[in-house]
C-alpha cells in the first residue's frame, strides 16, 4: 500500500530537524548568545535545583547505600588503615609544609603565591550521562568568573565554564573538550593535554619532541605560557606511558591525573583570569 505522509507533518519534521542542526552548529561554536541564554537560565533554575537536591538527598543517600554497599565496606577498612598512617605522617608534614610555604614565597610561584582563592563545595555531579562537569556552591557573588582554574590540594581539576550568582559549573579535565597547556616537570618540554572521558587518563599528543626522553612517573604541571588559561605550576598528572605519535612528529604521553575528578567534595577556585 502506498502511503503518502501529510504535508504538515513533513514540514514539521524538516523544520525541527533543521532547527536542531542549526542550534547544534551554534552550540559547537559556543556563540555568546547561547552562552548568555544558558547563564540566564542557570540563574533562574539553579536555586530551584538546589531545593530539589536538598529534598532528594535522602533518596540519593539510600540509593548510594544500596548500589555501593560492598565498595563502602572495603573503603571503610582501607580508610581506617590510611587514617592511622596519616596520623603518623601529619607531624612530619607540618614541618615540611612550613618549609615549602617559605620556599614558595621566596620564588614567587603563581600557583601557591598571591592568587586569591575561593573554597567551594561540590553540590552535584554531572547533570547528564555525557556531561563532564560538576556544580559548585559558589558563584559570581563570591567573585567567581568563567575561565577561572579550579584545583584541589592534589592538583588541577578543571575550569569554571559557567557562573551564576550563587553557583558555578566546573568543566572537569576528563571532558573530551578540555585542553590545558602542560610542561614536563623534568626537562621543561611543553605540550597540550586533553581529556578522554570519565576514568580515562589524559592524552598529550601535541608539542612533545619525539626525541625527548620521558621517564614513567614524570610529573606534568600547567605551562602558564603567554595567554594561557591557567597560571604556571599547577600539578596536573604523572606520565604512565609513552609512545611514538602518528607520523613520528611528536611523542604521545599517557598521563594519569593527580586528582580523581569522579569523587570530588571540595575544590578551590583560583581567581585568576589570565590578565595578571
Amino acid at each position: 500500500m502506498a502511503i503518502s505522509r501529510p504535508t504538515g507533518s513533513r514540514t514539521r519534521l524538516v523544520v525541527l530537524l533543521l532547527a536542531s542542526v542549526t542550534l547544534l552548529t551554534f552550540g559547537v561554536r559556543d556563540v555568546p548568545v547561547i552562552r548568555d541564554v544558558r547563564e540566564g537560565v542557570g540563574t533562574v533554575v539553579d536555586p530551584v535545583v538546589g531545593a530539589v537536591q536538598a529534598a532528594a538527598r535522602p533518596l540519593g543517600n539510600a540509593w548510594n547505600g544500596i548500589t555501593d554497599y560492598g565498595n563502602l565496606e572495603d573503603e571503610n577498612a582501607e580508610l581506617r588503615d590510611r587514617l592511622a598512617q596519616l596520623e603518623g605522617d601529619r607531624v612530619a608534614a607540618t614541618d615540611a609544609e612550613t618549609q615549602f610555604a617559605e620556599l614558595s614565597r621566596s620564588v614567587d610561584l603563581p600557583y601557591v603565591g598571591d592568587v586569591p582563592t575561593v573554597a567551594a563545595r561540590v553540590s552535584s555531579g554531572p547533570r547528564s550521562n555525557f556531561s563532564h562537569a560538576v556544580e559548585i556552591d559558589k558563584g559570581t557573588d563570591d567573585g567567581i568568573a568563567v575561565g577561572m582554574p579550579v584545583a584541589t590540594g592534589g592538583g588541577l581539576v578543571g575550569r569554571v565554564s559557567r557562573a551564576s550568582g550563587s553557583t558555578a559549573t566546573v568543566e572537569l579535565l576528563s571532558d573530551p573538550e578540555f585542553r590545558v597547556g602542560v610542561r614536563l616537570a623534568e626537562g621543561g618540554e611543553l605540550g597540550t593535554a586533553r581529556g578522554q572521558g570519565r576514568g580515562e587518563p589524559l592524552a598529550v599528543d601535541t608539542g612533545i619532541d619525539p626525541d625527548t626522553e620521558v621517564a614513567e612517573g614524570t610529573g606534568l604541571v600547567t605551562s602558564g605560557v603567554d595567554r594561557s588559561a591557567y597560571p604556571a605550576g599547577i600539578p596536573v598528572g604523572e606520565v604512565t606511558k609513552t609512545r611514538e605519535g602518528s607520523g613520528g612528529l611528536a611523542l604521545d604521553l599517557v598521563v594519569e591525573p593527580l586528582v580523581d575528578v569522579d569523587s570530588l567534595s571540595y575544590v578551590t577556585v583560583l581567581q585568576w583570569t589570565g590578565d595578571e
Binding site: 531545593a51 568543566e171 572521558g197
Partner: protein
Amino acid sequence: MRPRRRFVLAKTVLVLIGALLLQIGAVADLRLLGATGDLLLLLAVAAGWVDGPDRGLSWGFAAGLAYDLVLDTPFGLSALTYAVVGYAVGLVSVALSRPAGWWPVSIAALAGVLATGIYAGVGHLVGVPYPFGDLPPVALVVAAWNAVLILPVMRLMRRLVGAQKPDRIALVLGGRR
C-alpha cells in the same frame, strides 16, 4: 488560541519543567555503573509511543532543548537526538498498531540504546569525541530506566495529550488511538 489548547500547552510546559528539575536535581545523582536515567528522553519516547511520530518529534525537540539549556554539552545535541528518537518510536508504534504488553517496555529500552548511539555518534561528527568505552554502561542504564518507567510515563502522557487531535501520521498510517 482556544482556552482548552492553552490549558494543554500550560500543562505540557509544566510537565517539561518538572521533569527537567527532577532530572538534574534528583535523577542525575542516582548513578549505577557511572550512568543515570534520562527523564527527558523518556518523555519523548512516551509521546512517540502514545501519540505517534509527529508528537514524538515535537516532544523530543522541546524536551531536548530544555535539557540543553542546563547542560555544558554542545547546545542542540540533545534536541536533535531526542527529536529523532521520539519520531522513530512513533513510527514503530504506528507500524505495529501500538501493541500492549511488553512491546512498549522493549521499545523504550531499545530507544535508550538508540539515543545513546545517536548522541555519541553526532558528538563525534561535530568534534566532541565521547569515549566509546563509556557507551555500553550508559546505554544499559538508560535502557533500564526507560523500561522501568515507560508505563507510568505513558499514562501521564495519555492524560496530558489525550484531548488533542490525533497524530497526523498516525491517521494516515491507520494507527489506532
